[in-house]
């Protein structure tokens, strides 16, 4: 084995030209010089392949034999499903061993030659270049491109207009949003109902410190008619109640009712729904990028990347005593968009 490798060192000499940067002298691996080391490496690699095969068999056995209801308590690591643990361990180890064995094989036993691959200039020869240029000029002369300006100009015009149909087709990507980004389904008299339960709310239902996630009563009907959840994405609100004396400012005169304030639930930064309301400080925190709004002070941004205050929904009660909206939001909810910096 070592003999066959002895000739490898002469490879670069055999090409005839001496390398500009000569390679350091080549050291033989232990497996090249010692047949016992080579045999040992061979055994190691074979063992890994056999273990890999056993792992694959183990995977099938684990898949068939281990019930998915059994769990293994690994102390501080946690309680893990035995089946998934065994499936992962057997298949993962088996796959890893194929790779490790292949690399071990390549590193220890496959030919260890150092070969020089010479670089050559990539440019064409001068003759080839002149020939190509002559052919091109002959083509231009034969086509009459230079002598027939009418053809030249009409060709340029045709090519210039070629992309226009492709651009026009972009219109099919959907109707423009129009003013839908500026409005929600809230309108004068929309009754406010609690999210999930759909229960309408009276002011006396809320205590100071209460937080309620709410939506308009007709949301489900509109959602069904439109066939999507766009309405929900914009109309979600939270209601909070604080002592009337704690309200520093509001976005409009008389927009709250006995200390109950309604705000959009959608962050004005990139539109995460937020309800991390801290009832002592009246701060509303967005978990995505930590924008913080002071609901007692017109929903003003007190921290974070949000550029706009949280829109407030003006509310009042109807003649049955339930909380309703006075109108839609007076500014667009959710993140800023192109036409509304």
């Amino acid at each position: 084995m070592s003999n066959s490798h002895g000739t490898d060192l002469n490879v670069h000499a055999a090409t005839g030209d001496e390398p500009v940067f000569p390679l350091p002298p080549h050291h033989h691996r232990l497996t090249d010089t010692d047949p016992r080391a080579a045999k040992r490496a061979e055994r190691q690699i074979a063992t890994m392949f056999i273990l890999s095969a056993l792992g694959m068999v183990g995977f099938v056995v684990a898949y068939v034999m281990v019930p998915t209801t059994s769990y293994l308590d690994l102390g501080p690591v946690g309680v893990l499903q035995t089946s998934n643990l065994l499936l992962g361990l057997t298949f993962g180890t088996a796959t890893l061993l194929i790779g490790v064995a292949a690399i071990h094989w390549a590193k220890k036993l496959m030919a260890d030659e150092e070969i020089i691959d010479h670089r050559h200039p990539v440019g064409s020869t001068d003759e080839d270049r002149e020939e190509a240029l002559a052919a091109f000029n002959a083509g231009v002369a034969e086509s009459g491109f230079a002598e027939r300006p009418l053809l030249r100009r009409t060709l340029i015009a045709a090519l210039a207009l070629f992309p226009i149909p492709l651009i026009v087709l972009l219109k099919d990507m959907g109707p423009l949003p129009g003013d839908s980004l500026r409005h929600t389904i809230w309108r004068k008299g929309s009754r406010i109902v609690i999210d999930v339960s759909g229960q309408p709310l009276r002011p006396e239902d809320m205590s100071v410190g209460s937080l309620v996630s709410a939506s308009p009563a007709d949301l489900n009907d509109i959602q069904e008619a439109e066939g999507n959840q766009n309405a929900r994405a914009k109309a979600s609100i939270i209601l909070v109640r604080m002592k009337p004396g704690e309200i520093v400012s509001e976005q409009g005169e008389g927009w709250s009712y006995q200390g109950i304030l309604a705000f959009s639930k959608i962050c004005t930064h990139v539109g995460c729904p937020i309800a991390l309301y801290q009832q002592r400080t009246h701060h509303l925190l967005c978990p995505c990028h930590q924008s913080t709004f002071d609901l007692a002070d017109s929903g003003a941004v007190v921290f974070g990347p949000a550029a706009r205050r949280m829109p407030q929904l003006p509310i009042t009660v109807d003649n049955e005593g339930y909380l309703v909206a006075q109108s839609d939001f007076h500014e667009p909810v959710g993140p800023s968009f192109w036409e509304r910096p």
Binding site: R202, M206, R280
Partner: protein, 260 residues
Amino acid sequence: MTSTSVRRHKATGLVVLLAGLVTTGIGYAAVTSTAEASVPQASQGQLDQGHQIFLEGCATCHGLAAQGSSDGPSLIGVGAAAVDFQVSTGRMPLAAPDNQAPQKAVVYTADQISALAAYVASLGPGPSIPSASDVSTTDAELAEGGVLFRTNCAQCHNFAGRGGALSDGKYAPSMMNATPTQMYEAMLTGPQNMPVFNDKTMPPAQKQAIIKYIKNLQQAQAPGGLALGSYGPVTEGVFIWTAGIGALLAAAVWIGAKVR
């Protein structure tokens, strides 16, 4: 002989049935009436004991008459539920004035806590400590609890109830060790920065469903493998960026290393 003849009488079955119904009815009425009582009756001795504990342990911040001071809020009208929650979880007496009252070892015994709760409840009407039947989850819907949990709780307490960060060093605590009574009291009273979920905006049946869901989370196992604390992308990201990429780097170094 007489007893045998009575037992064999045709009406015996009917009498026994009636007696059973009446007993059950009275028993049920007794149980439900205690469950619905808003102000538990406390003895004068208990109130005195509670007052004494209040003066020793609470009045420094909450004021001698529980009227509140610059260091602590008024306790008039907070009810027994708030006292039971704050003291039985070790949040009160406060470790140090800070943005958040951390949980620590409970200072008072159960008797002392109920005396203190009775005293504070006697200062003004407020939510009382929920009874065993209030926090019973046998009739609760687990799936409904999940929907309510994700709508009302998960934003702060994390999808798996492990808690999460708020602003200025405040945080929503983990629910992994909370008892059903403590969960109910927390929803009812809104401790610290937690909003109040009273019985009007969140009826007792919904609270029980949420409690059932949290109890389910507390016992949840990890079929998918290491939960890494169930904190989501933070711990998972740290793990894969250190352990995962570390393993890839080690493999690359090994593959590229020169063989001797």
